[in-house]
């Protein structure tokens, strides 16, 4: 996701990589003097920049092939990509640069632009007053003028679009089952702008910890980006996650009980989108909420039911046949129709520290676009209180260290996790989580409760006891109810 924590943050001044002895020649071109270290080899500036470029171009080419079947003459044969942007993060900023370079390169050769780019920053700050030391506010510092930054981007990359979308826009999305996040009492409000923000603030106030809040920002940001991609008529959503960020994500999601979702988060490919009933219209107009189904009775006997009587309320609208959305046709018979969007990570083969170097090498350097007053996450920065730290923050610090000494180990984590399989059968059998859209695993939840000896109904785990009627996966249950 575009938001910061999987992005490296530039700590000023950009550290010059360990310079090598003056007389050495570049290992790659054998012409220029080597001034930089690239994965153990002494290289010149030009070759370093080219290396970064090549790694990204390779991924974009793969995506190009993948999207070729989605391009219709109606689009004029032009691809359109939506890119998640973070404010001041080095990864997505470098991605802006690399993708634009690619476009300029093609144009300079007299060809058509290979794709159109829309960059979207999902802004949590208009709506959220976060805890002082939470991850996000420490990154953005509250004082950063988003519009000013976006102007900087627009000036430098006039061919691309740059948009800011408030996180509160997520409240209008039916891809989130809001009934599991908003207590029924609070569900009837208008849909005015400030009301929305109040409501979102309420959602976040109800979350039990900094980790939960960071987790929820990440999830909702993804929902907003996926929706923007659809609305903007894009064929894919690109995220700036580096290999370092993907390794962090792997361990962070594991630590949050979301290990099962890794194949969707780490790999490139189509990401599921599920549509839920409008929470507001539903809670007021519909029949009283269906009581939670007792354990054991699952989707089996519900496939023919009308949407309104489906258990757990995870009814889904048959929606959107926008040309940009691929139908994956894997819905539970009659009940669910899920769509999907391609999600790609063009920087997946690059380390964060390499991007930090790169940012200082391009001319003019990207320094102005990066966030410099970024102090709390700097290495060596004292941990204020563990209570206000998020798991993402712990992982960020951890991998900062590991990346320094064992970069290949870091790269190997993402590569290995990428081998995990996507279990789509679960989604067909049990449906999807109302918040993160991942397949539910009812058997797993039941077995887990048994082995742990969790009193049933304690936290409404999997059964939807806590007022919300939506069904949640293990990770979302943990984040929302503690």
């Amino acid at each position: 996701m575009s938001n910061k924590m999987e992005e490296g943050q530039l700590t000023p001044p950009p550290p010059q990589p360990s310079s090598v002895s003056v007389s050495k020649r570049c290992k790659k071109c054998s012409v220029q003097e080597a001034t930089l270290d690239s994965r153990g080899a002494p290289v010149c500036r030009g070759c370093f920049v080219k290396f970064i470029n090549t790694k990204c171009v390779k991924q974009v080419a793969i995506l190009g092939k993948e999207t070729s079947r989605l391009i219709t003459p109606r689009d004029g044969g032009v691809r359109r990509y939506l890119v998640g942007l973070s404010m001041g993060g080095v990864s997505s900023t470098v991605l802006v640069q690399l993708l634009n370079e690619n476009v300029e390169f093609q144009l300079a050769k007299g060809r058509n632009a290979p794709f159109e780019l829309v960059f979207v920053y999902v802004d949590p700050h208009t709506s959220l007053t976060l805890q002082p030391s939470s991850e996000l506010s420490s990154v953005v510092g509250g004082s950063i003028k988003v519009e000013e930054r976006l102007r900087g981007f627009r000036e430098r990359y006039p061919r691309s679009e740059f948009k800011r979308v408030p996180l509160a826009a997520a409240l209008r999305l039916r891809t989130v089952d809001w009934s599991s996040l908003i207590p029924p009492a609070g569900a009837n409000g208008g849909s005015g702008g400030t009301d929305e923000e109040k409501k979102l603030q309420q959602v976040f106030d109800n979350l039990p910890s900094a980790t939960s809040r960071t987790d929820m920002i990440r999830l909702l940001t993804r929902h907003v980006l996926l929706n923007e991609a659809r609305e903007e008529g894009c064929q894919a959503l690109l995220l700036g996650s580096t290999t370092t960020a993907l390794a962090e994500l792997t361990l962070a999601e594991t630590a949050k009980g979301r290990g099962f979702s890794l194949p969707w988060l780490i790999n490139d490919g189509s990401f599921p989108i599920t549509h839920h009933q409008d929470p507001i219209a539903d809670t007021t107009a519909d029949a009283p909420p269906t009581p939670p189904t007792p354990d054991g009775t699952t989707a089996d006997n519900t496939t023919t039911d009308a949407p309104t009587t489906a258990p757990n309320g995870t009814t889904t609208n048959i929606t959107t046949n926008s040309p940009t959305v691929t139908e994956d046709g894997k819905g539970v018979g009659g009940e669910t129709s899920s769509t999907s969007m391609l999600v790609y990570h063009p920087l997946r083969d690059l380390l964060r520290k390499e991007l930090v170097t790169y940012a200082s090498l391009v001319s003019p350097p990207l320094t102005d676009l990066l966030l410099s007053d970024f102090s709390s996450l700097q290495s060596g920065g004292a941990v204020v209180s563990h209570k206000n730290l998020s798991i993402e923050e712990v992982m960020f610090r951890y991998f900062e260290e590991v990346e320094q000494n064992y970069p290949s180990v870091v790269a190997n984590v993402a590569r290995t996790t990428g081998k995990l399989l996507r279990l789509e059968e679960d989604a067909e059998k049990n449906g999807r989580c109302g918040v993160c859209s991942m397949p539910l695993d009812e058997l797993g939840d039941e077995r887990w409760r048994g082995e742990i000896g969790d009193p049933v109904g304690d936290e409404g785990g999997g059964g939807g006891g806590g007022g919300g009627k939506g069904r949640l996966c293990y990770g979302c249950e943990r984040s929302i109810h503690g």
Partner: protein
């Protein structure tokens, strides 16, 4: 100030804030809840059958002492009908096991359980002291580690017992999961998550009833139950990946206490996602994924008396180097394919150098999954002859002739 009452019984004074979920409980409710949870684990995974003879791997440390105490309690309370035996391993390092063995002996009396101490000499024909005498101090950790891995199983076999339970707790399991993610070893990751290891081919089944118990709660249980255990810090230094994972887990637990359990859950779920074809080109394996429990060859098995030959960071650095070499090789290939007129000599050098550095490791990584049994001892092994038997062969060649 009024005392805070136990959230469970609402009558007694709360003395304990549970590390697992921060619920405040009185002493007796804590003990009961802890035992109930282990009971749940045992019944829901059908760990035992009535009349089963079970050896408790006892080191005298907190984990195995708590395990013995809880199993005794549950066995009586719920009529499991188990025949429980304490099984201890003596590596044969003079002075090293003395205190902990004394503890286990007292436990045997306290819990009224038979105790069997099995020595390395009985199992392998060698004590660790003799090994050190023969091969010197360098590298003896390898021997101790390999021998230890099999010692409980071999000991149980000697006693005619088919089930060994160990004191591995949730922290250990979580640690192993993160460690294997860092190591990029999905096969081990999926193995390490199952509560039972060892399958039909192995004669001894192993399980960890405390798999979901927090280390901190085990300490609390031992304390409040006034158990007699040997509390000296283990002098064994964990290898780099484990050490790194361990400190990470401690930090995660501080941020969100449930993290340990959540990691265990993630690991169990991910075990289902490990692709089968990952396991080499061999077409004959035909085993399902995690459904097949396998040798817990990477379990965290406590210390041997010596730290020789272990430099912290060693394993991580070695892997870093290996990965780098592989990558350098790949890069070179691409460059050559493209344009780069890399000198032939340079290319050759790289190609030659690679198999030497990473060959043995790689081949092991592939064959790791295909599990059979050792031709000599019958212990589960990915090779025809297991590591212990290989080491023994080397040792026996060097054995001074005088011995009879």
């Amino acid at each position: 100030m009024a005392p805070i009452l136990c959230t469970n019984c609402k009558t007694e004074r709360a003395l304990i804030k549970r590390p697992k979920n921060h619920k405040k409980l009185c002493r007796s409710c804590f003990l009961t809840v802890f035992e109930d949870e282990v009971h749940h684990t045992i019944t829901s995974s059908g760990l035992f059958y009535p009349g089963e003879k079970v050896a408790i791997g006892a080191s005298g440390g907190k984990d195995s002492t708590v395990l013995a105490s809880v199993l005794k309690t549950l066995n009586e309370r719920h009529n499991y009908g188990l025949d429980l035996v304490l099984l201890s391993i003596d590596e044969g390092i003079k002075g090293y096991r003395d205190d902990s063995l004394e503890t286990v002996k007292r436990n045997a009396v306290q819990y009224d359980m038979p105790l069997k101490v099995v020595g390395y000499d009985e199992l392998y024909g060698w004590t660790m002291d003799q090994v050190v005498e023969t091969i010197g101090k360098k590298g003896n950790c390898t021997y101790c580690g390999v021998f230890r891995r099999q010692a409980l199983d071999r000991g149980a076999k000697m006693l005619g017992i088919k089930h060994v339970v160990t004191g591995h707790n949730a922290d250990d399991v979580a640690e192993t999961i993160l460690m294997n993610l860092l190591r990029g070893d999905l096969a081990r990751l999926s193995r390490s998550t199952s509560i039972v290891t060892g399958d039909s081919r192995s004669e001894v089944k192993r399980s960890k009833p405390l798999k979901y118990s927090y280390e901190k709660e085990i300490v609390l249980y031992a304390h409040h139950k006034k158990l007699d255990y040997f509390s000296t810090e283990c002098i064994y230094s964990p290898e780099a990946f484990r050490g790194s994972a361990r400190s990470l887990i401690k930090n995660l637990e501080k941020v969100r206490p449930s993290a340990i359990l959540d990691i265990v859950r993630s690991g169990e779920d991910m075990a289902r996602l490990v692709p089968v074809e990952n396991s080499s080109s061999c077409a004959c394996k035909g085993t399902g994924r995690s459904a097949t429990p396998v040798a817990g060859d990477d379990e965290n098995i406590g210390g041997c008396g010596s730290q020789n030959g272990r430099s912290s960071g060693g394993e991580m650095a070695a892997m870093e180097q290996e990965l780098k070499d592989n990558e350098a090789h790949k890069e070179l290939e691409i460059d050559v394919a493209n344009t780069m007129p890399a000198t032939k000599a340079e290319l050759k050098e790289k190609l030659l150098e690679l198999p030497i550095r990473s060959g043995p490791r790689n081949s092991k990584a592939v064959s790791r999954q295909v599990l059979g049994t050792c031709e000599r001892c019958g212990y589960m092994s990915s090779q025809a002859i297991c590591q212990a038997c290989m080491l023994l062969e080397g040792l026996n060649k060097n054995r001074p002739q005088i011995q009879i």
